[in-house]
């Protein structure tokens, strides 16, 4: 397996980083966090214009039909500046779910607009985006007149407030879970935005007698959450790449700071107690980079160990971000604790990224299961 980037991939990575630095710098989080809309439609349009939303969509649906390898490059760039736009939700999780499970009609109807960024899709299938906790069965589907009526509440759901289309999981009377594609503005759906530590868009979604038709089913009737595994693995690699970018940037910020912060008459970066810890953070980040590189390539190649490597990438990248952010705050010292400095954003981001799609412990347990122990 080759890990060095092709010329095209290098170009994608370079232009992605440029786009994020010029149009989506981390400073915007300070204003976005108090806005009703938690991410910028203008930035989203620029990302779509650059093709980010089309990377993982097949060509015949208006996509670029590139792979997770390319998607990981732009997600990493977005992660450097903690761009809150719903890239992973819409362009990876939603797009992959529709592509892998959708009927011809559903793919024709949904994918072209996802690829050009005009449709925002999001998953609404597990509370808090957790797949490691038992489903509490809070969203139920009844069969009435050959259709379905969905009731219930799903909380802490990322990227749904501004979404146009949702994928909802609902438990039927026989206990089996069915996935549905639902218009986010359908009658009976209310989305109550939540205030999150990472400032990202999330809401509690309430379903009051939402009427759905058999044609809205995604995948099999009663097919269960496991149908989403393929999409979730891709999403996990997307989140991992985002966390990798964030970890890399948190380390850079800290390195810049310790090189210039003078105490006792010298730059504090000259102290071995800090140097060794920073070198250790660097090692963790490079190992996580290897994890993201190998997972994205394995899934693109359809390798049997793709799911296991996706879990590895997710766990290792989030762990690296946690370490980089915590060490960063410690080395910034008092100012690291202030809201004025950006380093704190990276720790807050970790809280959301680690939980999303299952935390590191969940992914280690999944790895063990997939390895037969």
């Amino acid at each position: 397996m080759a890990f060095s980037l092709t010329e095209d991939q290098t170009q994608i990575a370079d232009s992605a980083r440029k786009l994020v630095e010029t149009q989506a710098p981390i400073a915007r989080l300070r204003t976005l966090r108090s806005q009703p809309e938690r991410w910028s439609r203008k930035c989203w349009a620029a990302m779509a214009e650059a093709g980010w939303t089309a990377l993982c969509v097949q060509e015949r649906h208006g996509g670029l039909d590139l792979g997770l390898t390319e998607l990981a490059l732009v997600a990493e760039a977005a992660g450097r500046q903690l761009a809150p736009e719903p890239l992973v939700s819409s362009a990876v999780l939603f797009a992959s779910a529709v592509q892998l499970l959708g009927t011809h009609a559903q793919r024709d109807q949904l994918l072209a607009s996802v690829a050009d960024g005009t449709r925002i899709g999001a998953l609404c299938v597990a509370d808090g985006g957790r797949y490691d906790a038992p489903d509490r069965g809070c969203v139920q589907a009844r069969i009435v007149d050959g259709g379905f009526i969905v009731d219930g509440v799903r909380s802490h759901t990322l990227d749904v407030t501004l979404a146009d289309t949702l994928i909802v999981a609902a438990r039927g009377p026989n206990g089996a879970v069915t996935l549905f594609v639902v218009d986010a503005n359908a009658t009976g759906i209310t989305r109550t935005p939540e205030a999150r530590v990472d400032g990202r868009d999330a809401a509690t979604v309430r379903f009051d007698s939402v009427r759905l038709a058999p044609a809205d089913i995604l995948g099999e009737l009663g097919g269960g959450l496991a149908q989403l595994d393929g999409a979730l693995d891709r999403g996990a690699v997307g989140v991992a790449a985002f966390a990798l970018g964030a970890a890399t940037r948190a380390l850079e910020l800290t390195l810049d700071y310790v090189r210039t912060r003078i105490q006792f008459g010298v730059a504090i970066g000259s102290f071995q107690a800090l140097q060794h810890r920073l070198a250790y953070v660097f090692a963790k980040v490079e190992l996580a980079r290897s994890g993201v590189l190998t997972a994205s390539r394995a899934i693109d190649a359809g390798a049997a160990d793709g799911p296991r490597l996706a879990s590895m990438a997710k766990a290792k990248a989030c762990d690296a971000l946690e370490l980089a952010a915590k060490e960063g705050i410690q080395m910034f010292g008092g100012v690291g604790m202030t809201d004025e400095y950006d380093i704190g954003f990276y720790l807050k981001a970790h809280r959301g990224l680690d939980t999303w799609l299952g935390d590191s412990a969940h992914h280690r347990a999944r790895w063990a299961t997939l390895q037969g122990y």
Partner: protein, 423 residues
């Protein structure tokens, strides 16, 4: 790795191996043709008993006057390769090498790995002092030392560390004083692997006590049979070891044995350390493969859970975490190797290999003894299984992994200064 293509029916090794002279010059044929011809030659010449006997990277005959080959077949395999110059395929033919390129050498080593054949000869002569003499030695030194190395007649050891000079190698104090055509050497080396089995030692000695640190050091070759040289093996916390102390008392060494210039041996030493680091780094990458399967098997025995999910969530978590780190490490090794193709300098990620690889190896053994529990307490005798006894020894030995070949602390200094650009 490319598969070795050998004509059907030719795979059976012959017991009466005898070198076949190649029909065409290797350098004139394509690499693919060379691969086929080399495979054929190896199959024709490698004695049957050696197939499948290679397990680790350093398996093989180490040469020298003090340790004869363990079997006639080992000697025969060496003789065949010496005849063709294939103990050092990319060294010059006039010095006993094969006159081939680096690529040819890699092909030969790939074929040997695939056939699980030990290389005909291994050791510090081929891996360290040989390349150093080719780069820094004079004609007389090359003519005197390279042919015995490629023929496996002389085994070398490395005299660098001293009791007072470990991580701070440049503070070494073994003295060499000029007396006519000789230097007279007094002092002590330590951590010298296999010194008691070696014929010659390449050593760093201080020729100018007044010069600052690195400047007064000379690189010199010493025949260990010279009067005044003695060795003593070192016992480790894990038991016996290949490490030795080497003592020099009034040892007379011809000044002609100085490699490079007097007082300027540090340059030579640094180049040679580079060979050593790449050797250890590669070994780390190769040795990390089977930890997970081994740990799971141990856990199944210890937890009495022959199949299914392990009943300890903590053990599952710890094994999986280590397995993930090892997988990421192995990919990092691949990234480094890939990045160095075409003679490019290794990328910044290469700096983490030693510190991460050695720590992972320790974690593997730490976890293994923890899982083994009471069975990890043995030292020797038959109250404990042989496998558990060797685990305990390996666990103790692994504490040295983060010390030898550059301590982790020194490696972290290097990353901080040279990769992260810290003051």
């Amino acid at each position: 790795m490319k598969r070795v293509s050998v004509p059907a029916g030719r795979l059976e090794p012959r017991s009466d191996a005898y070198p076949i002279v190649p029909t065409r010059g290797a350098l004139e044929m394509s690499l693919e043709d060379f691969r086929a011809e080399a495979a054929l030659w190896i199959v024709e010449n490698a004695p049957r008993s050696l197939y499948g006997t290679r397990s680790g990277r350093f398996d093989g005959y180490w040469g020298g006057k003090k340790q004869p080959p363990v079997s006639e077949d080992v000697a025969r395999w060496l003789a065949a390769c010496v005849e063709r110059g294939w103990t050092a395929p990319d060294w010059p033919t006039e010095l006993g090498g094969g006159g081939l390129s680096r690529q040819h050498t890699e092909i030969i080593s790939e074929i040997l790995t695939e056939l699980k054949l030990p290389p005909p000869l291994v050791g510090f002569g081929l891996a360290m002092i040989g390349p150093t003499l080719l780069d820094f030695g004079n004609d007389a030194q090359r003519a005197a030392h390279i042919p015995p190395i490629v023929r496996g007649e002389v085994r070398w050891c490395q005299g660098y560390s001293e009791p007072g000079a470990g991580s701070d190698l440049a503070s070494l104090a073994t003295r060499a004083v000029r007396d006519g055509d000789d230097f007279v050497i007094d002092g002590q080396k330590v951590w010298t692997s296999h010194a008691d089995k070696s014929d010659w030692i390449f050593a760093l000695v201080r020729t100018n006590p007044d010069a600052k640190k690195q400047s007064g050091i000379t690189f010199i070759l010493i025949d260990m049979s010279t009067h005044g040289v003695s060795t003593r093996p070192i016992e480790l916390i894990s038991g016996s070891s290949p490490f030795c102390e080497v003592f020099f008392e009034n040892v007379r060494v011809p000044a002609a044995n100085v490699v490079g210039q007097v007082d300027h041996g540090w340059t030579v030493a640094k180049a040679l350390l580079g060979y050593e680091r790449s050797m250890i780094g590669a070994a780390m990458g190769g040795q990390l493969r089977d930890a997970e399967a081994d740990l799971v098997a141990r856990a199944r025995r210890a937890l009495d859970a022959p199949s299914g999910q392990l009943p300890s969530a903590l053990t599952r978590d710890e094994i999986a975490d280590l397995a993930m780190d090892e997988a990421c490490f192995n990919v990092t090794v691949q990234r480094v190797i890939e990045g160095m193709k075409g003679g490019k300098k290794p990328g910044s990620e290469s700096s983490i290999l030693k510190v991460v690889g050695s720590a992972l190896k320790q974690r593997r053994f730490d976890l293994a003894v923890k899982i083994a529990g009471p069975e990890s307490q043995g030292w020797e005798g038959d109250a404990f299984a042989a496998d558990d006894l060797s685990l305990t020894r390996d666990w103790l030995r692994s504490r040295g992994n983060t010390i030898e070949g550059g301590t982790s602390e020194v490696q972290l200094n290097i990353i901080a200064k040279h990769v992260l650009g810290l003051p």
